[in-house]
């Protein structure tokens, strides 16, 4: 029952550690550790920001093209600029409700470097003119909550938070708050509902874009934990150095949780755009190859909501635009590797079951559709599938996400890539996400579904005899 595997090698020019430099520092979570270790000096970036105008800080973040790390990949600086002008108060919400299956990075950032997140939140609050910051941490993460609470207490004591921070006229409060178990609350408008004390159901956008009408109908910027955690390094090292990592369109690094069938699963910080999936899976620094020397069957490049990729896509770079054009998404940096022993139908069912359980129930196509998708897949797995089930499954899916669904190319089968994102009949992307495993699995492994539907010998035998067909 070991500790999490992280990259313990030094930060270098080629593979810099922007956000993970204190992951293997024992006291990196304390104020002392934060100022004495890591790839930048703790709270020096805040001091630097306070010598600039708020507008100049926003411009800097915009120039750096700091892309949001929560899933959508929207530039943070541009998002900040959407705040309704001259409307006060404004709020910053740090989205720490990490729960997309396969995703494990925000929890590490919160547990191992909470001051980095706090400093990033302060910089964001300064830039947009926020009255208050809410750190919304997933309920099931008490260790992260403890680390953040302790760090907040230290930072208040040291005058980094509160009234007249570091002797300037910048004043802001940061409040720690918890969720209580609901995946959908990771969606920003649902998070705001939750923060107002309600059921976490998403709001319709427009009109409820948080930057215009967010928390208490005031301008609110909701940023992912990793996005905010990038700010201290960015302000310390500057735009040019930040942009020297990664590519023109996607500068900087990404934290990738590499899980599933690889020799060395772990949370690795990799440069965006210049690293390929092959390198991630095979290099000794990261994955160390497919587990047991087996063959790759498929992989999920960006969390449960992302359409699957296959061996044909391993040489693609970890670059949002490229992955999007090829029919999937980088999402939240969750790469799940599945080897040739994986049952595609079973993997598909498990992912769909997740969406069925987590549907909030607001939109009919998702509330009803995800449940039916799960039931149909379950009966196929149980040997009770009907020949019409695959068409039925795709029909239900089409009610949630009409038209061609994003898909990876399969030259041998004459399939061309359908680019991301999918269309949707729902308010938020949860329902449409349930379709990703279905279309991905059926496009490549239809024979596995048909095998389960047609083979009578797979009908489970119970002690009472053969179950009815």
């Amino acid at each position: 029952m070991s500790d999490t595997a992280v990259d313990t090698q030094e930060s270098t020019q080629e593979v810099p550690k922007v956000v993970s430099s204190r992951f293997d520092v024992d006291d990196g979570h304390t104020l002392h550790g934060y100022t004495q270790s890591g790839s930048f000096e703790g709270y020096a970036a805040l001091r630097r920001a306070l010598t600039m105008t708020p507008g100049a800080v926003s411009e800097l973040v915009k120039d750096a093209t700091l892309l949001g790390r929560g899933g959508a990949g929207f530039p943070a600086g541009v998002k900040w600029g959407f705040c309704a002008p001259d409307v006060w108060p404004r709020y910053v919400v740090a989205n720490g409700d990490e729960s997309e299956p396969g995703t494990y990075k925000d929890r590490l950032l919160m547990e191992r470097d909470p001051h980095q997140l706090i400093e990033g939140s302060l910089i964001a609050a300064y830039a947009i003119g926020a009255a208050q910051v809410f750190l919304y941490v997933r309920g099931e993460m008490p260790h992260a909550q403890e680390r953040i609470a302790a760090a907040l207490n230290e930072a208040y004591e040291a005058n980094f938070i509160g009234k007249n921070i570091l002797g300037t006229d910048f004043s802001v409060d940061i409040v720690l708050t918890f969720g209580a178990g609901a995946y959908i609350v990771g969606e920003e408008t649902a998070l705001i509902e939750s923060l107002e004390g309600n059921r976490g159901m998403p709001r319709l956008k427009p009109p409820f874009f948080p930057a215009a009408k967010g928390l208490y109908m005031m301008p609110t910027i909701v940023n992912n934990i990793e996005t905010l955690s990038n700010l201290p390094w960015l302000l310390s090292h500057g735009v040019r150095e930040y942009r020297s990592i990664g590519t023109e369109a996607s500068p900087g690094t990404r934290l990738i949780a590499l899980s599933g069938d690889v020799e060395r699963p772990g949370v690795y910080e990799v440069p965006q755009g210049t690293t390929t999936f092959r390198e991630l899976f095979e290099s000794e620094r990261y994955g160390g190859g497919i587990r047991g020397g087996r063959e790759l069957k498929m992989f999920i490049p960006g969390g449960a909501s992302a359409p699957w990729f296959f061996p044909e896509q391993v040489d693609l770079p970890l670059e949002g635009r490229v992955v999007g054009a090829e029919g999937s998404m980088l999402g939240s940096g969750a790469v799940v590797v599945m080897d040739d022993t994986t049952d595609a139908v079973r993997a598909c069912w498990r992912l769909v079951r997740f969406f069925a359980r987590e549907s909030c129930g607001k939109c009919t196509p998702c509330r009803e559709g995800t449940v039916w998708e799960e039931r149909i897949l379950r009966r196929i797995l149980d040997g009770q599938g009907r020949p019409s089930d695959l068409d039925l499954l795709l029909d239900v899916a089409d009610n949630i996400s009409p038209g061609p669904y994003p898909l990876a190319a399969h030259p041998e089968a004459g399939l061309e890539a359908v680019p991301f994102p999918p269309r949707q009949t729902t308010i938020c992307p949860l329902g449409p996400s349930s379709v990703a495993p279905i279309t991905s699995a059926i496009s490549r492994f239809r024979h596995e579904f048909e095998g389960k539907i047609n083979r009578k010998d797979s009908i489970p035998v119970t002690s009472a005899g053969v179950t009815s067909v």
Binding site: S99, P142, Q145, M338
Partner: protein, 208 residues
């Protein structure tokens, strides 16, 4: 029981004061009540409602949306086995079956001695450490069936009672907001433009 103790009532009032609107404290107060009683009782929800100026039906409406809130007593330890994709690939489902067998209960139920509640849960963000188990939301990584048996033994013997608090208790460390350091937490309608934006968005003066 059920009503908050005087200490917890004091804490509840402090928590409410951290939010611009009292209702924003709903989830935190439900956690506090669950921490005290091990589950969320109707009386506790009534009191939360009084404290935040809502009806108890509204509090129930919110609380029932969130999986962590238990409306009935559960075991001293909630044992959550993750079976989502990354854990499934590395034996999460088999581990759940093993757990059901050795605990003698199905997922979703509680042992007769009130010690354990077993649950089959969604991704707990420990995907690289599969299969993952949480006990009262404290993590155990890469758990084999043998590790699991040992874990149950340690929980029964009280070996882990220091590291794993009883059900309902989350963080052992709380945020502590001192009145003299707090900048300005008031309702949105009482907030003015920030001092470091002297001329609003249009013409930002330099910070001091």
């Amino acid at each position: 029981m059920a009503r908050l103790t005087p200490d917890n009532l004091l804490l509840a009032r402090k928590i409410i004061a951290r939010f611009p609107e009292p209702r924003s404290a709903t989830i935190m107060l439900c956690h506090l009540a669950q921490e005290q009683d091990g589950y969320l009782s109707p009386e506790a929800m009534e009191q939360v409602a009084e404290l935040i100026g809502a009806t108890s039906a509204e509090v129930l409406g919110t609380a029932s949306f969130y999986e962590m809130f238990k409306m009935h007593p559960v075991g001293k330890y909630c044992v959550n086995v993750c079976t989502n994709i990354s854990c499934q690939l590395l034996g999460g489902e088999e581990l759940l079956e093993h757990a059901e067998e050795v605990m003698g209960i199905r997922s979703g139920s509680t042992t007769a001695d009130g010690m354990f509640t077993l649950e089959d849960v969604e991704c707990v963000a420990a995907c690289t450490e599969a299969p993952a188990v949480q006990v009262n939301y404290r993590y155990f990584n890469r758990v084999s069936p043998d590790d699991f048996d040992e874990l149950l033994e340690d929980l029964r013997s009280g070996e882990l009672s220091r590291t794993i608090p009883s059900h309902g208790t989350l963080g052992n460390v709380r945020q502590d907001l001192h009145g003299d350091r707090v900048a300005n937490i008031t309702s949105p309608s009482q907030q003015v433009e920030p001092a470091w934006f002297p001329n609003g968005d249009s013409d930002e003066g330099p910070a001091k």
